[in-house]
Assembly symmetry: C2
Homo-oligomer: 325 residues x 2
């Protein structure tokens, strides 16, 4: 067996700190109606990628560890709050290997638990002592962007005229933006210049967008076992992805005919037909190029950093961006 | 016609400032899915009592006007956010003279609009420059208490064993606590001692509790026209009030029989029967005494203040506590 490399060990260590920090929040027992679903919504098999990014970014600048932990917990709780509310809006039944909060209880309970988690995240980011005003302000500006991203996502559900730019801007607000905030908070707590902090935000933003493009590609190319979720579910739901939008933009009429003709096949055959279409038309290759472009831009966003400062962040990007393209 | 007294003029002036401040928030037009319901949720015929209290409390200590306006807008937006979410949970169709947000749009839209409003309130409280950390922390601690109050309210719906103390504690968290925060923010921005600030919080808290007790009494005693809402609706909904709980605590068996026997009458007769029962058993008088006790305790919470500092706050209490007992 290979020995664990230092980066993998650091990640495991940060995750342990985060789990420990969440346990030590010491939430009251009552009212049960509020705190039981809040505790539940913070549990499950989450990967804690966002607090890991806060911590790695902060350590690149020798930031205060106690401040980093508070910021890391704040973003993780913020993220989990958005999942609780998104699951209500999207009617999703499962999250982190357990029933979603509104399924385990009901919609009212989940709405309130989400708000309680959001408030908890505010109290935690409010504990950061280094550059507190910058941390709070950026935390809430980023949250407003997440709201905007979710709003665009709901709006786009009802439209079949979304451009690839619209889609990637929505993904940026909904997903990339929070990763951007994580990296930026590390810089703010590490007392870096506005320029460096803006670069860190951009790194996280672009990484999030690259991740989504890859995820959209994997939905159609990966082994079901490797993905750990039902593949082709986006196709079944008629969900827009980088691939569907690129295919429509390439030739709207042809794409419409193709979708209509492939609606009656069974799931496995459907997925194969879409794969072949994306392959044949160059849509798949185009999407892979797009992912590579975003990854490259994310790396370039760190150009102001020293090699040593960049190291952890580039390792993190490798961790997030799956190698199975 | 009587000339407008200075206090009435000051209130009108503050309300105008608040409406103007809300208009000048300059929210983006897009995404429409988010900002249209946010704007709508901040409108309607609201009385703006909470921002009025922030401003009056702050002016008692010559606090910075620009900080007071930001704090006033923050609490008003926070309050309106809680109404949007409460209306979903309670299935209420009307608010501030217009359809509630989830009726005008749908539940998903209202959940997200509420969170957007909450985030907006955070950005505004974050703009306060005097004692920002205290303002920020108290703002979010109070919000957590509002969540707890709403949780207890939902829990209590399913129980018929709530004591008067439980009920008043719930009212304190859900309603009084926010008024407490308003008065306290005026003190924090006015750079007052922790002792004074704690007294201001207590004043608002007790005032809110007194207000709720009076409201529960008015539900059964007032003219329908004076209240501007359908009286007896609490009875119809089987809602717990100070009166129903006091009547149950006084004689559980007798109360149970009374409620069962009066279930089939028409609304007007039902209300009359309850009124007579509360009158006859002394429950009404007891509840009025309770309201007076809370009002007196609220006044006493300001004992550390000078007469001049107290003046605006006592006028405010008179404004809130209706004279029709």
């Amino acid at each position: 067996m290979a020995a664990t490399d230092p980066f993998t060990a650091e990640i495991a260590n940060i995750r342990q700190q985060v789990e420990e920090g969440l346990r030590q929040l010491d939430l009251p027992a009552r009212p049960q109606y509020l705190y039981e679903p809040v505790r539940y919504g913070l549990g499950g098999t989450a990967k804690r990628l966002r607090p890991v990014l806060v911590t790695l970014a902060g350590r690149s600048f020798d930031a205060d560890e106690s401040d980093l932990l508070n910021a890391a917990l704040a973003v993780e709780i913020l993220h989990n709050f958005t999942l609780v509310h998104d699951d209500i809006m999207d009617g999703d039944d499962q999250r982190h290997g357990q029933a979603s909060v509104h399924r385990r209880w009901d919609v009212s309970t989940a709405i309130l638990a989400g708000v309680g988690m959001f408030t908890l995240s505010q109290l935690l980011i409010g504990k950061v002592l280094t550059n507190p005003v910058d941390c709070w302000t950026r935390f809430n500006q980023a949250t407003m962007e997440i709201c905007e991203g979710q709003a665009y996502d709901k709006q786009f559900e009802q439209s079949d005229e979304i451009s690839l730019d619209d889609y990637l801007a929505m993904v940026g607000k909904k997903t990339g933006n929070l990763l951007g905030l994580c990296a930026e908070l590390g810089g703010i707590i590490g007392e870096q210049s506005n320029e460096i902090c803006a670069g860190l935000y951009r790194f996280g933003l672009l990484l999030g967008q690259a991740f989504q493009i890859q995820d959209d590609i994997l939905e159609i190319t990966a082994d079901a076992t490797a993905m750990g979720k039902s593949l082709g579910s986006d196709i079944a739901a008629g969900k827009q992805t980088v691939l569907t939008i690129a295919a429509r933009e390439r030739n709207p009429g042809e794409w419409q005919v193709f979708c209509r003709e492939n609606v009656k096949l069974n799931p496995v055959d459907t997925r194969k037909a879409y794969y072949d279409y994306y392959q044949l038309t160059g849509v798949l290759q185009h999407s892979r190029q797009l992912a590579d472009e975003y990854i490259e831009k994310a790396r370039q966003a760190l150009s102001e950093l020293t090699d040593d400062q960049r190291r952890r962040l580039l390792n993190f990007a490798d961790l997030v961006l799956t190698r199975k393209k």
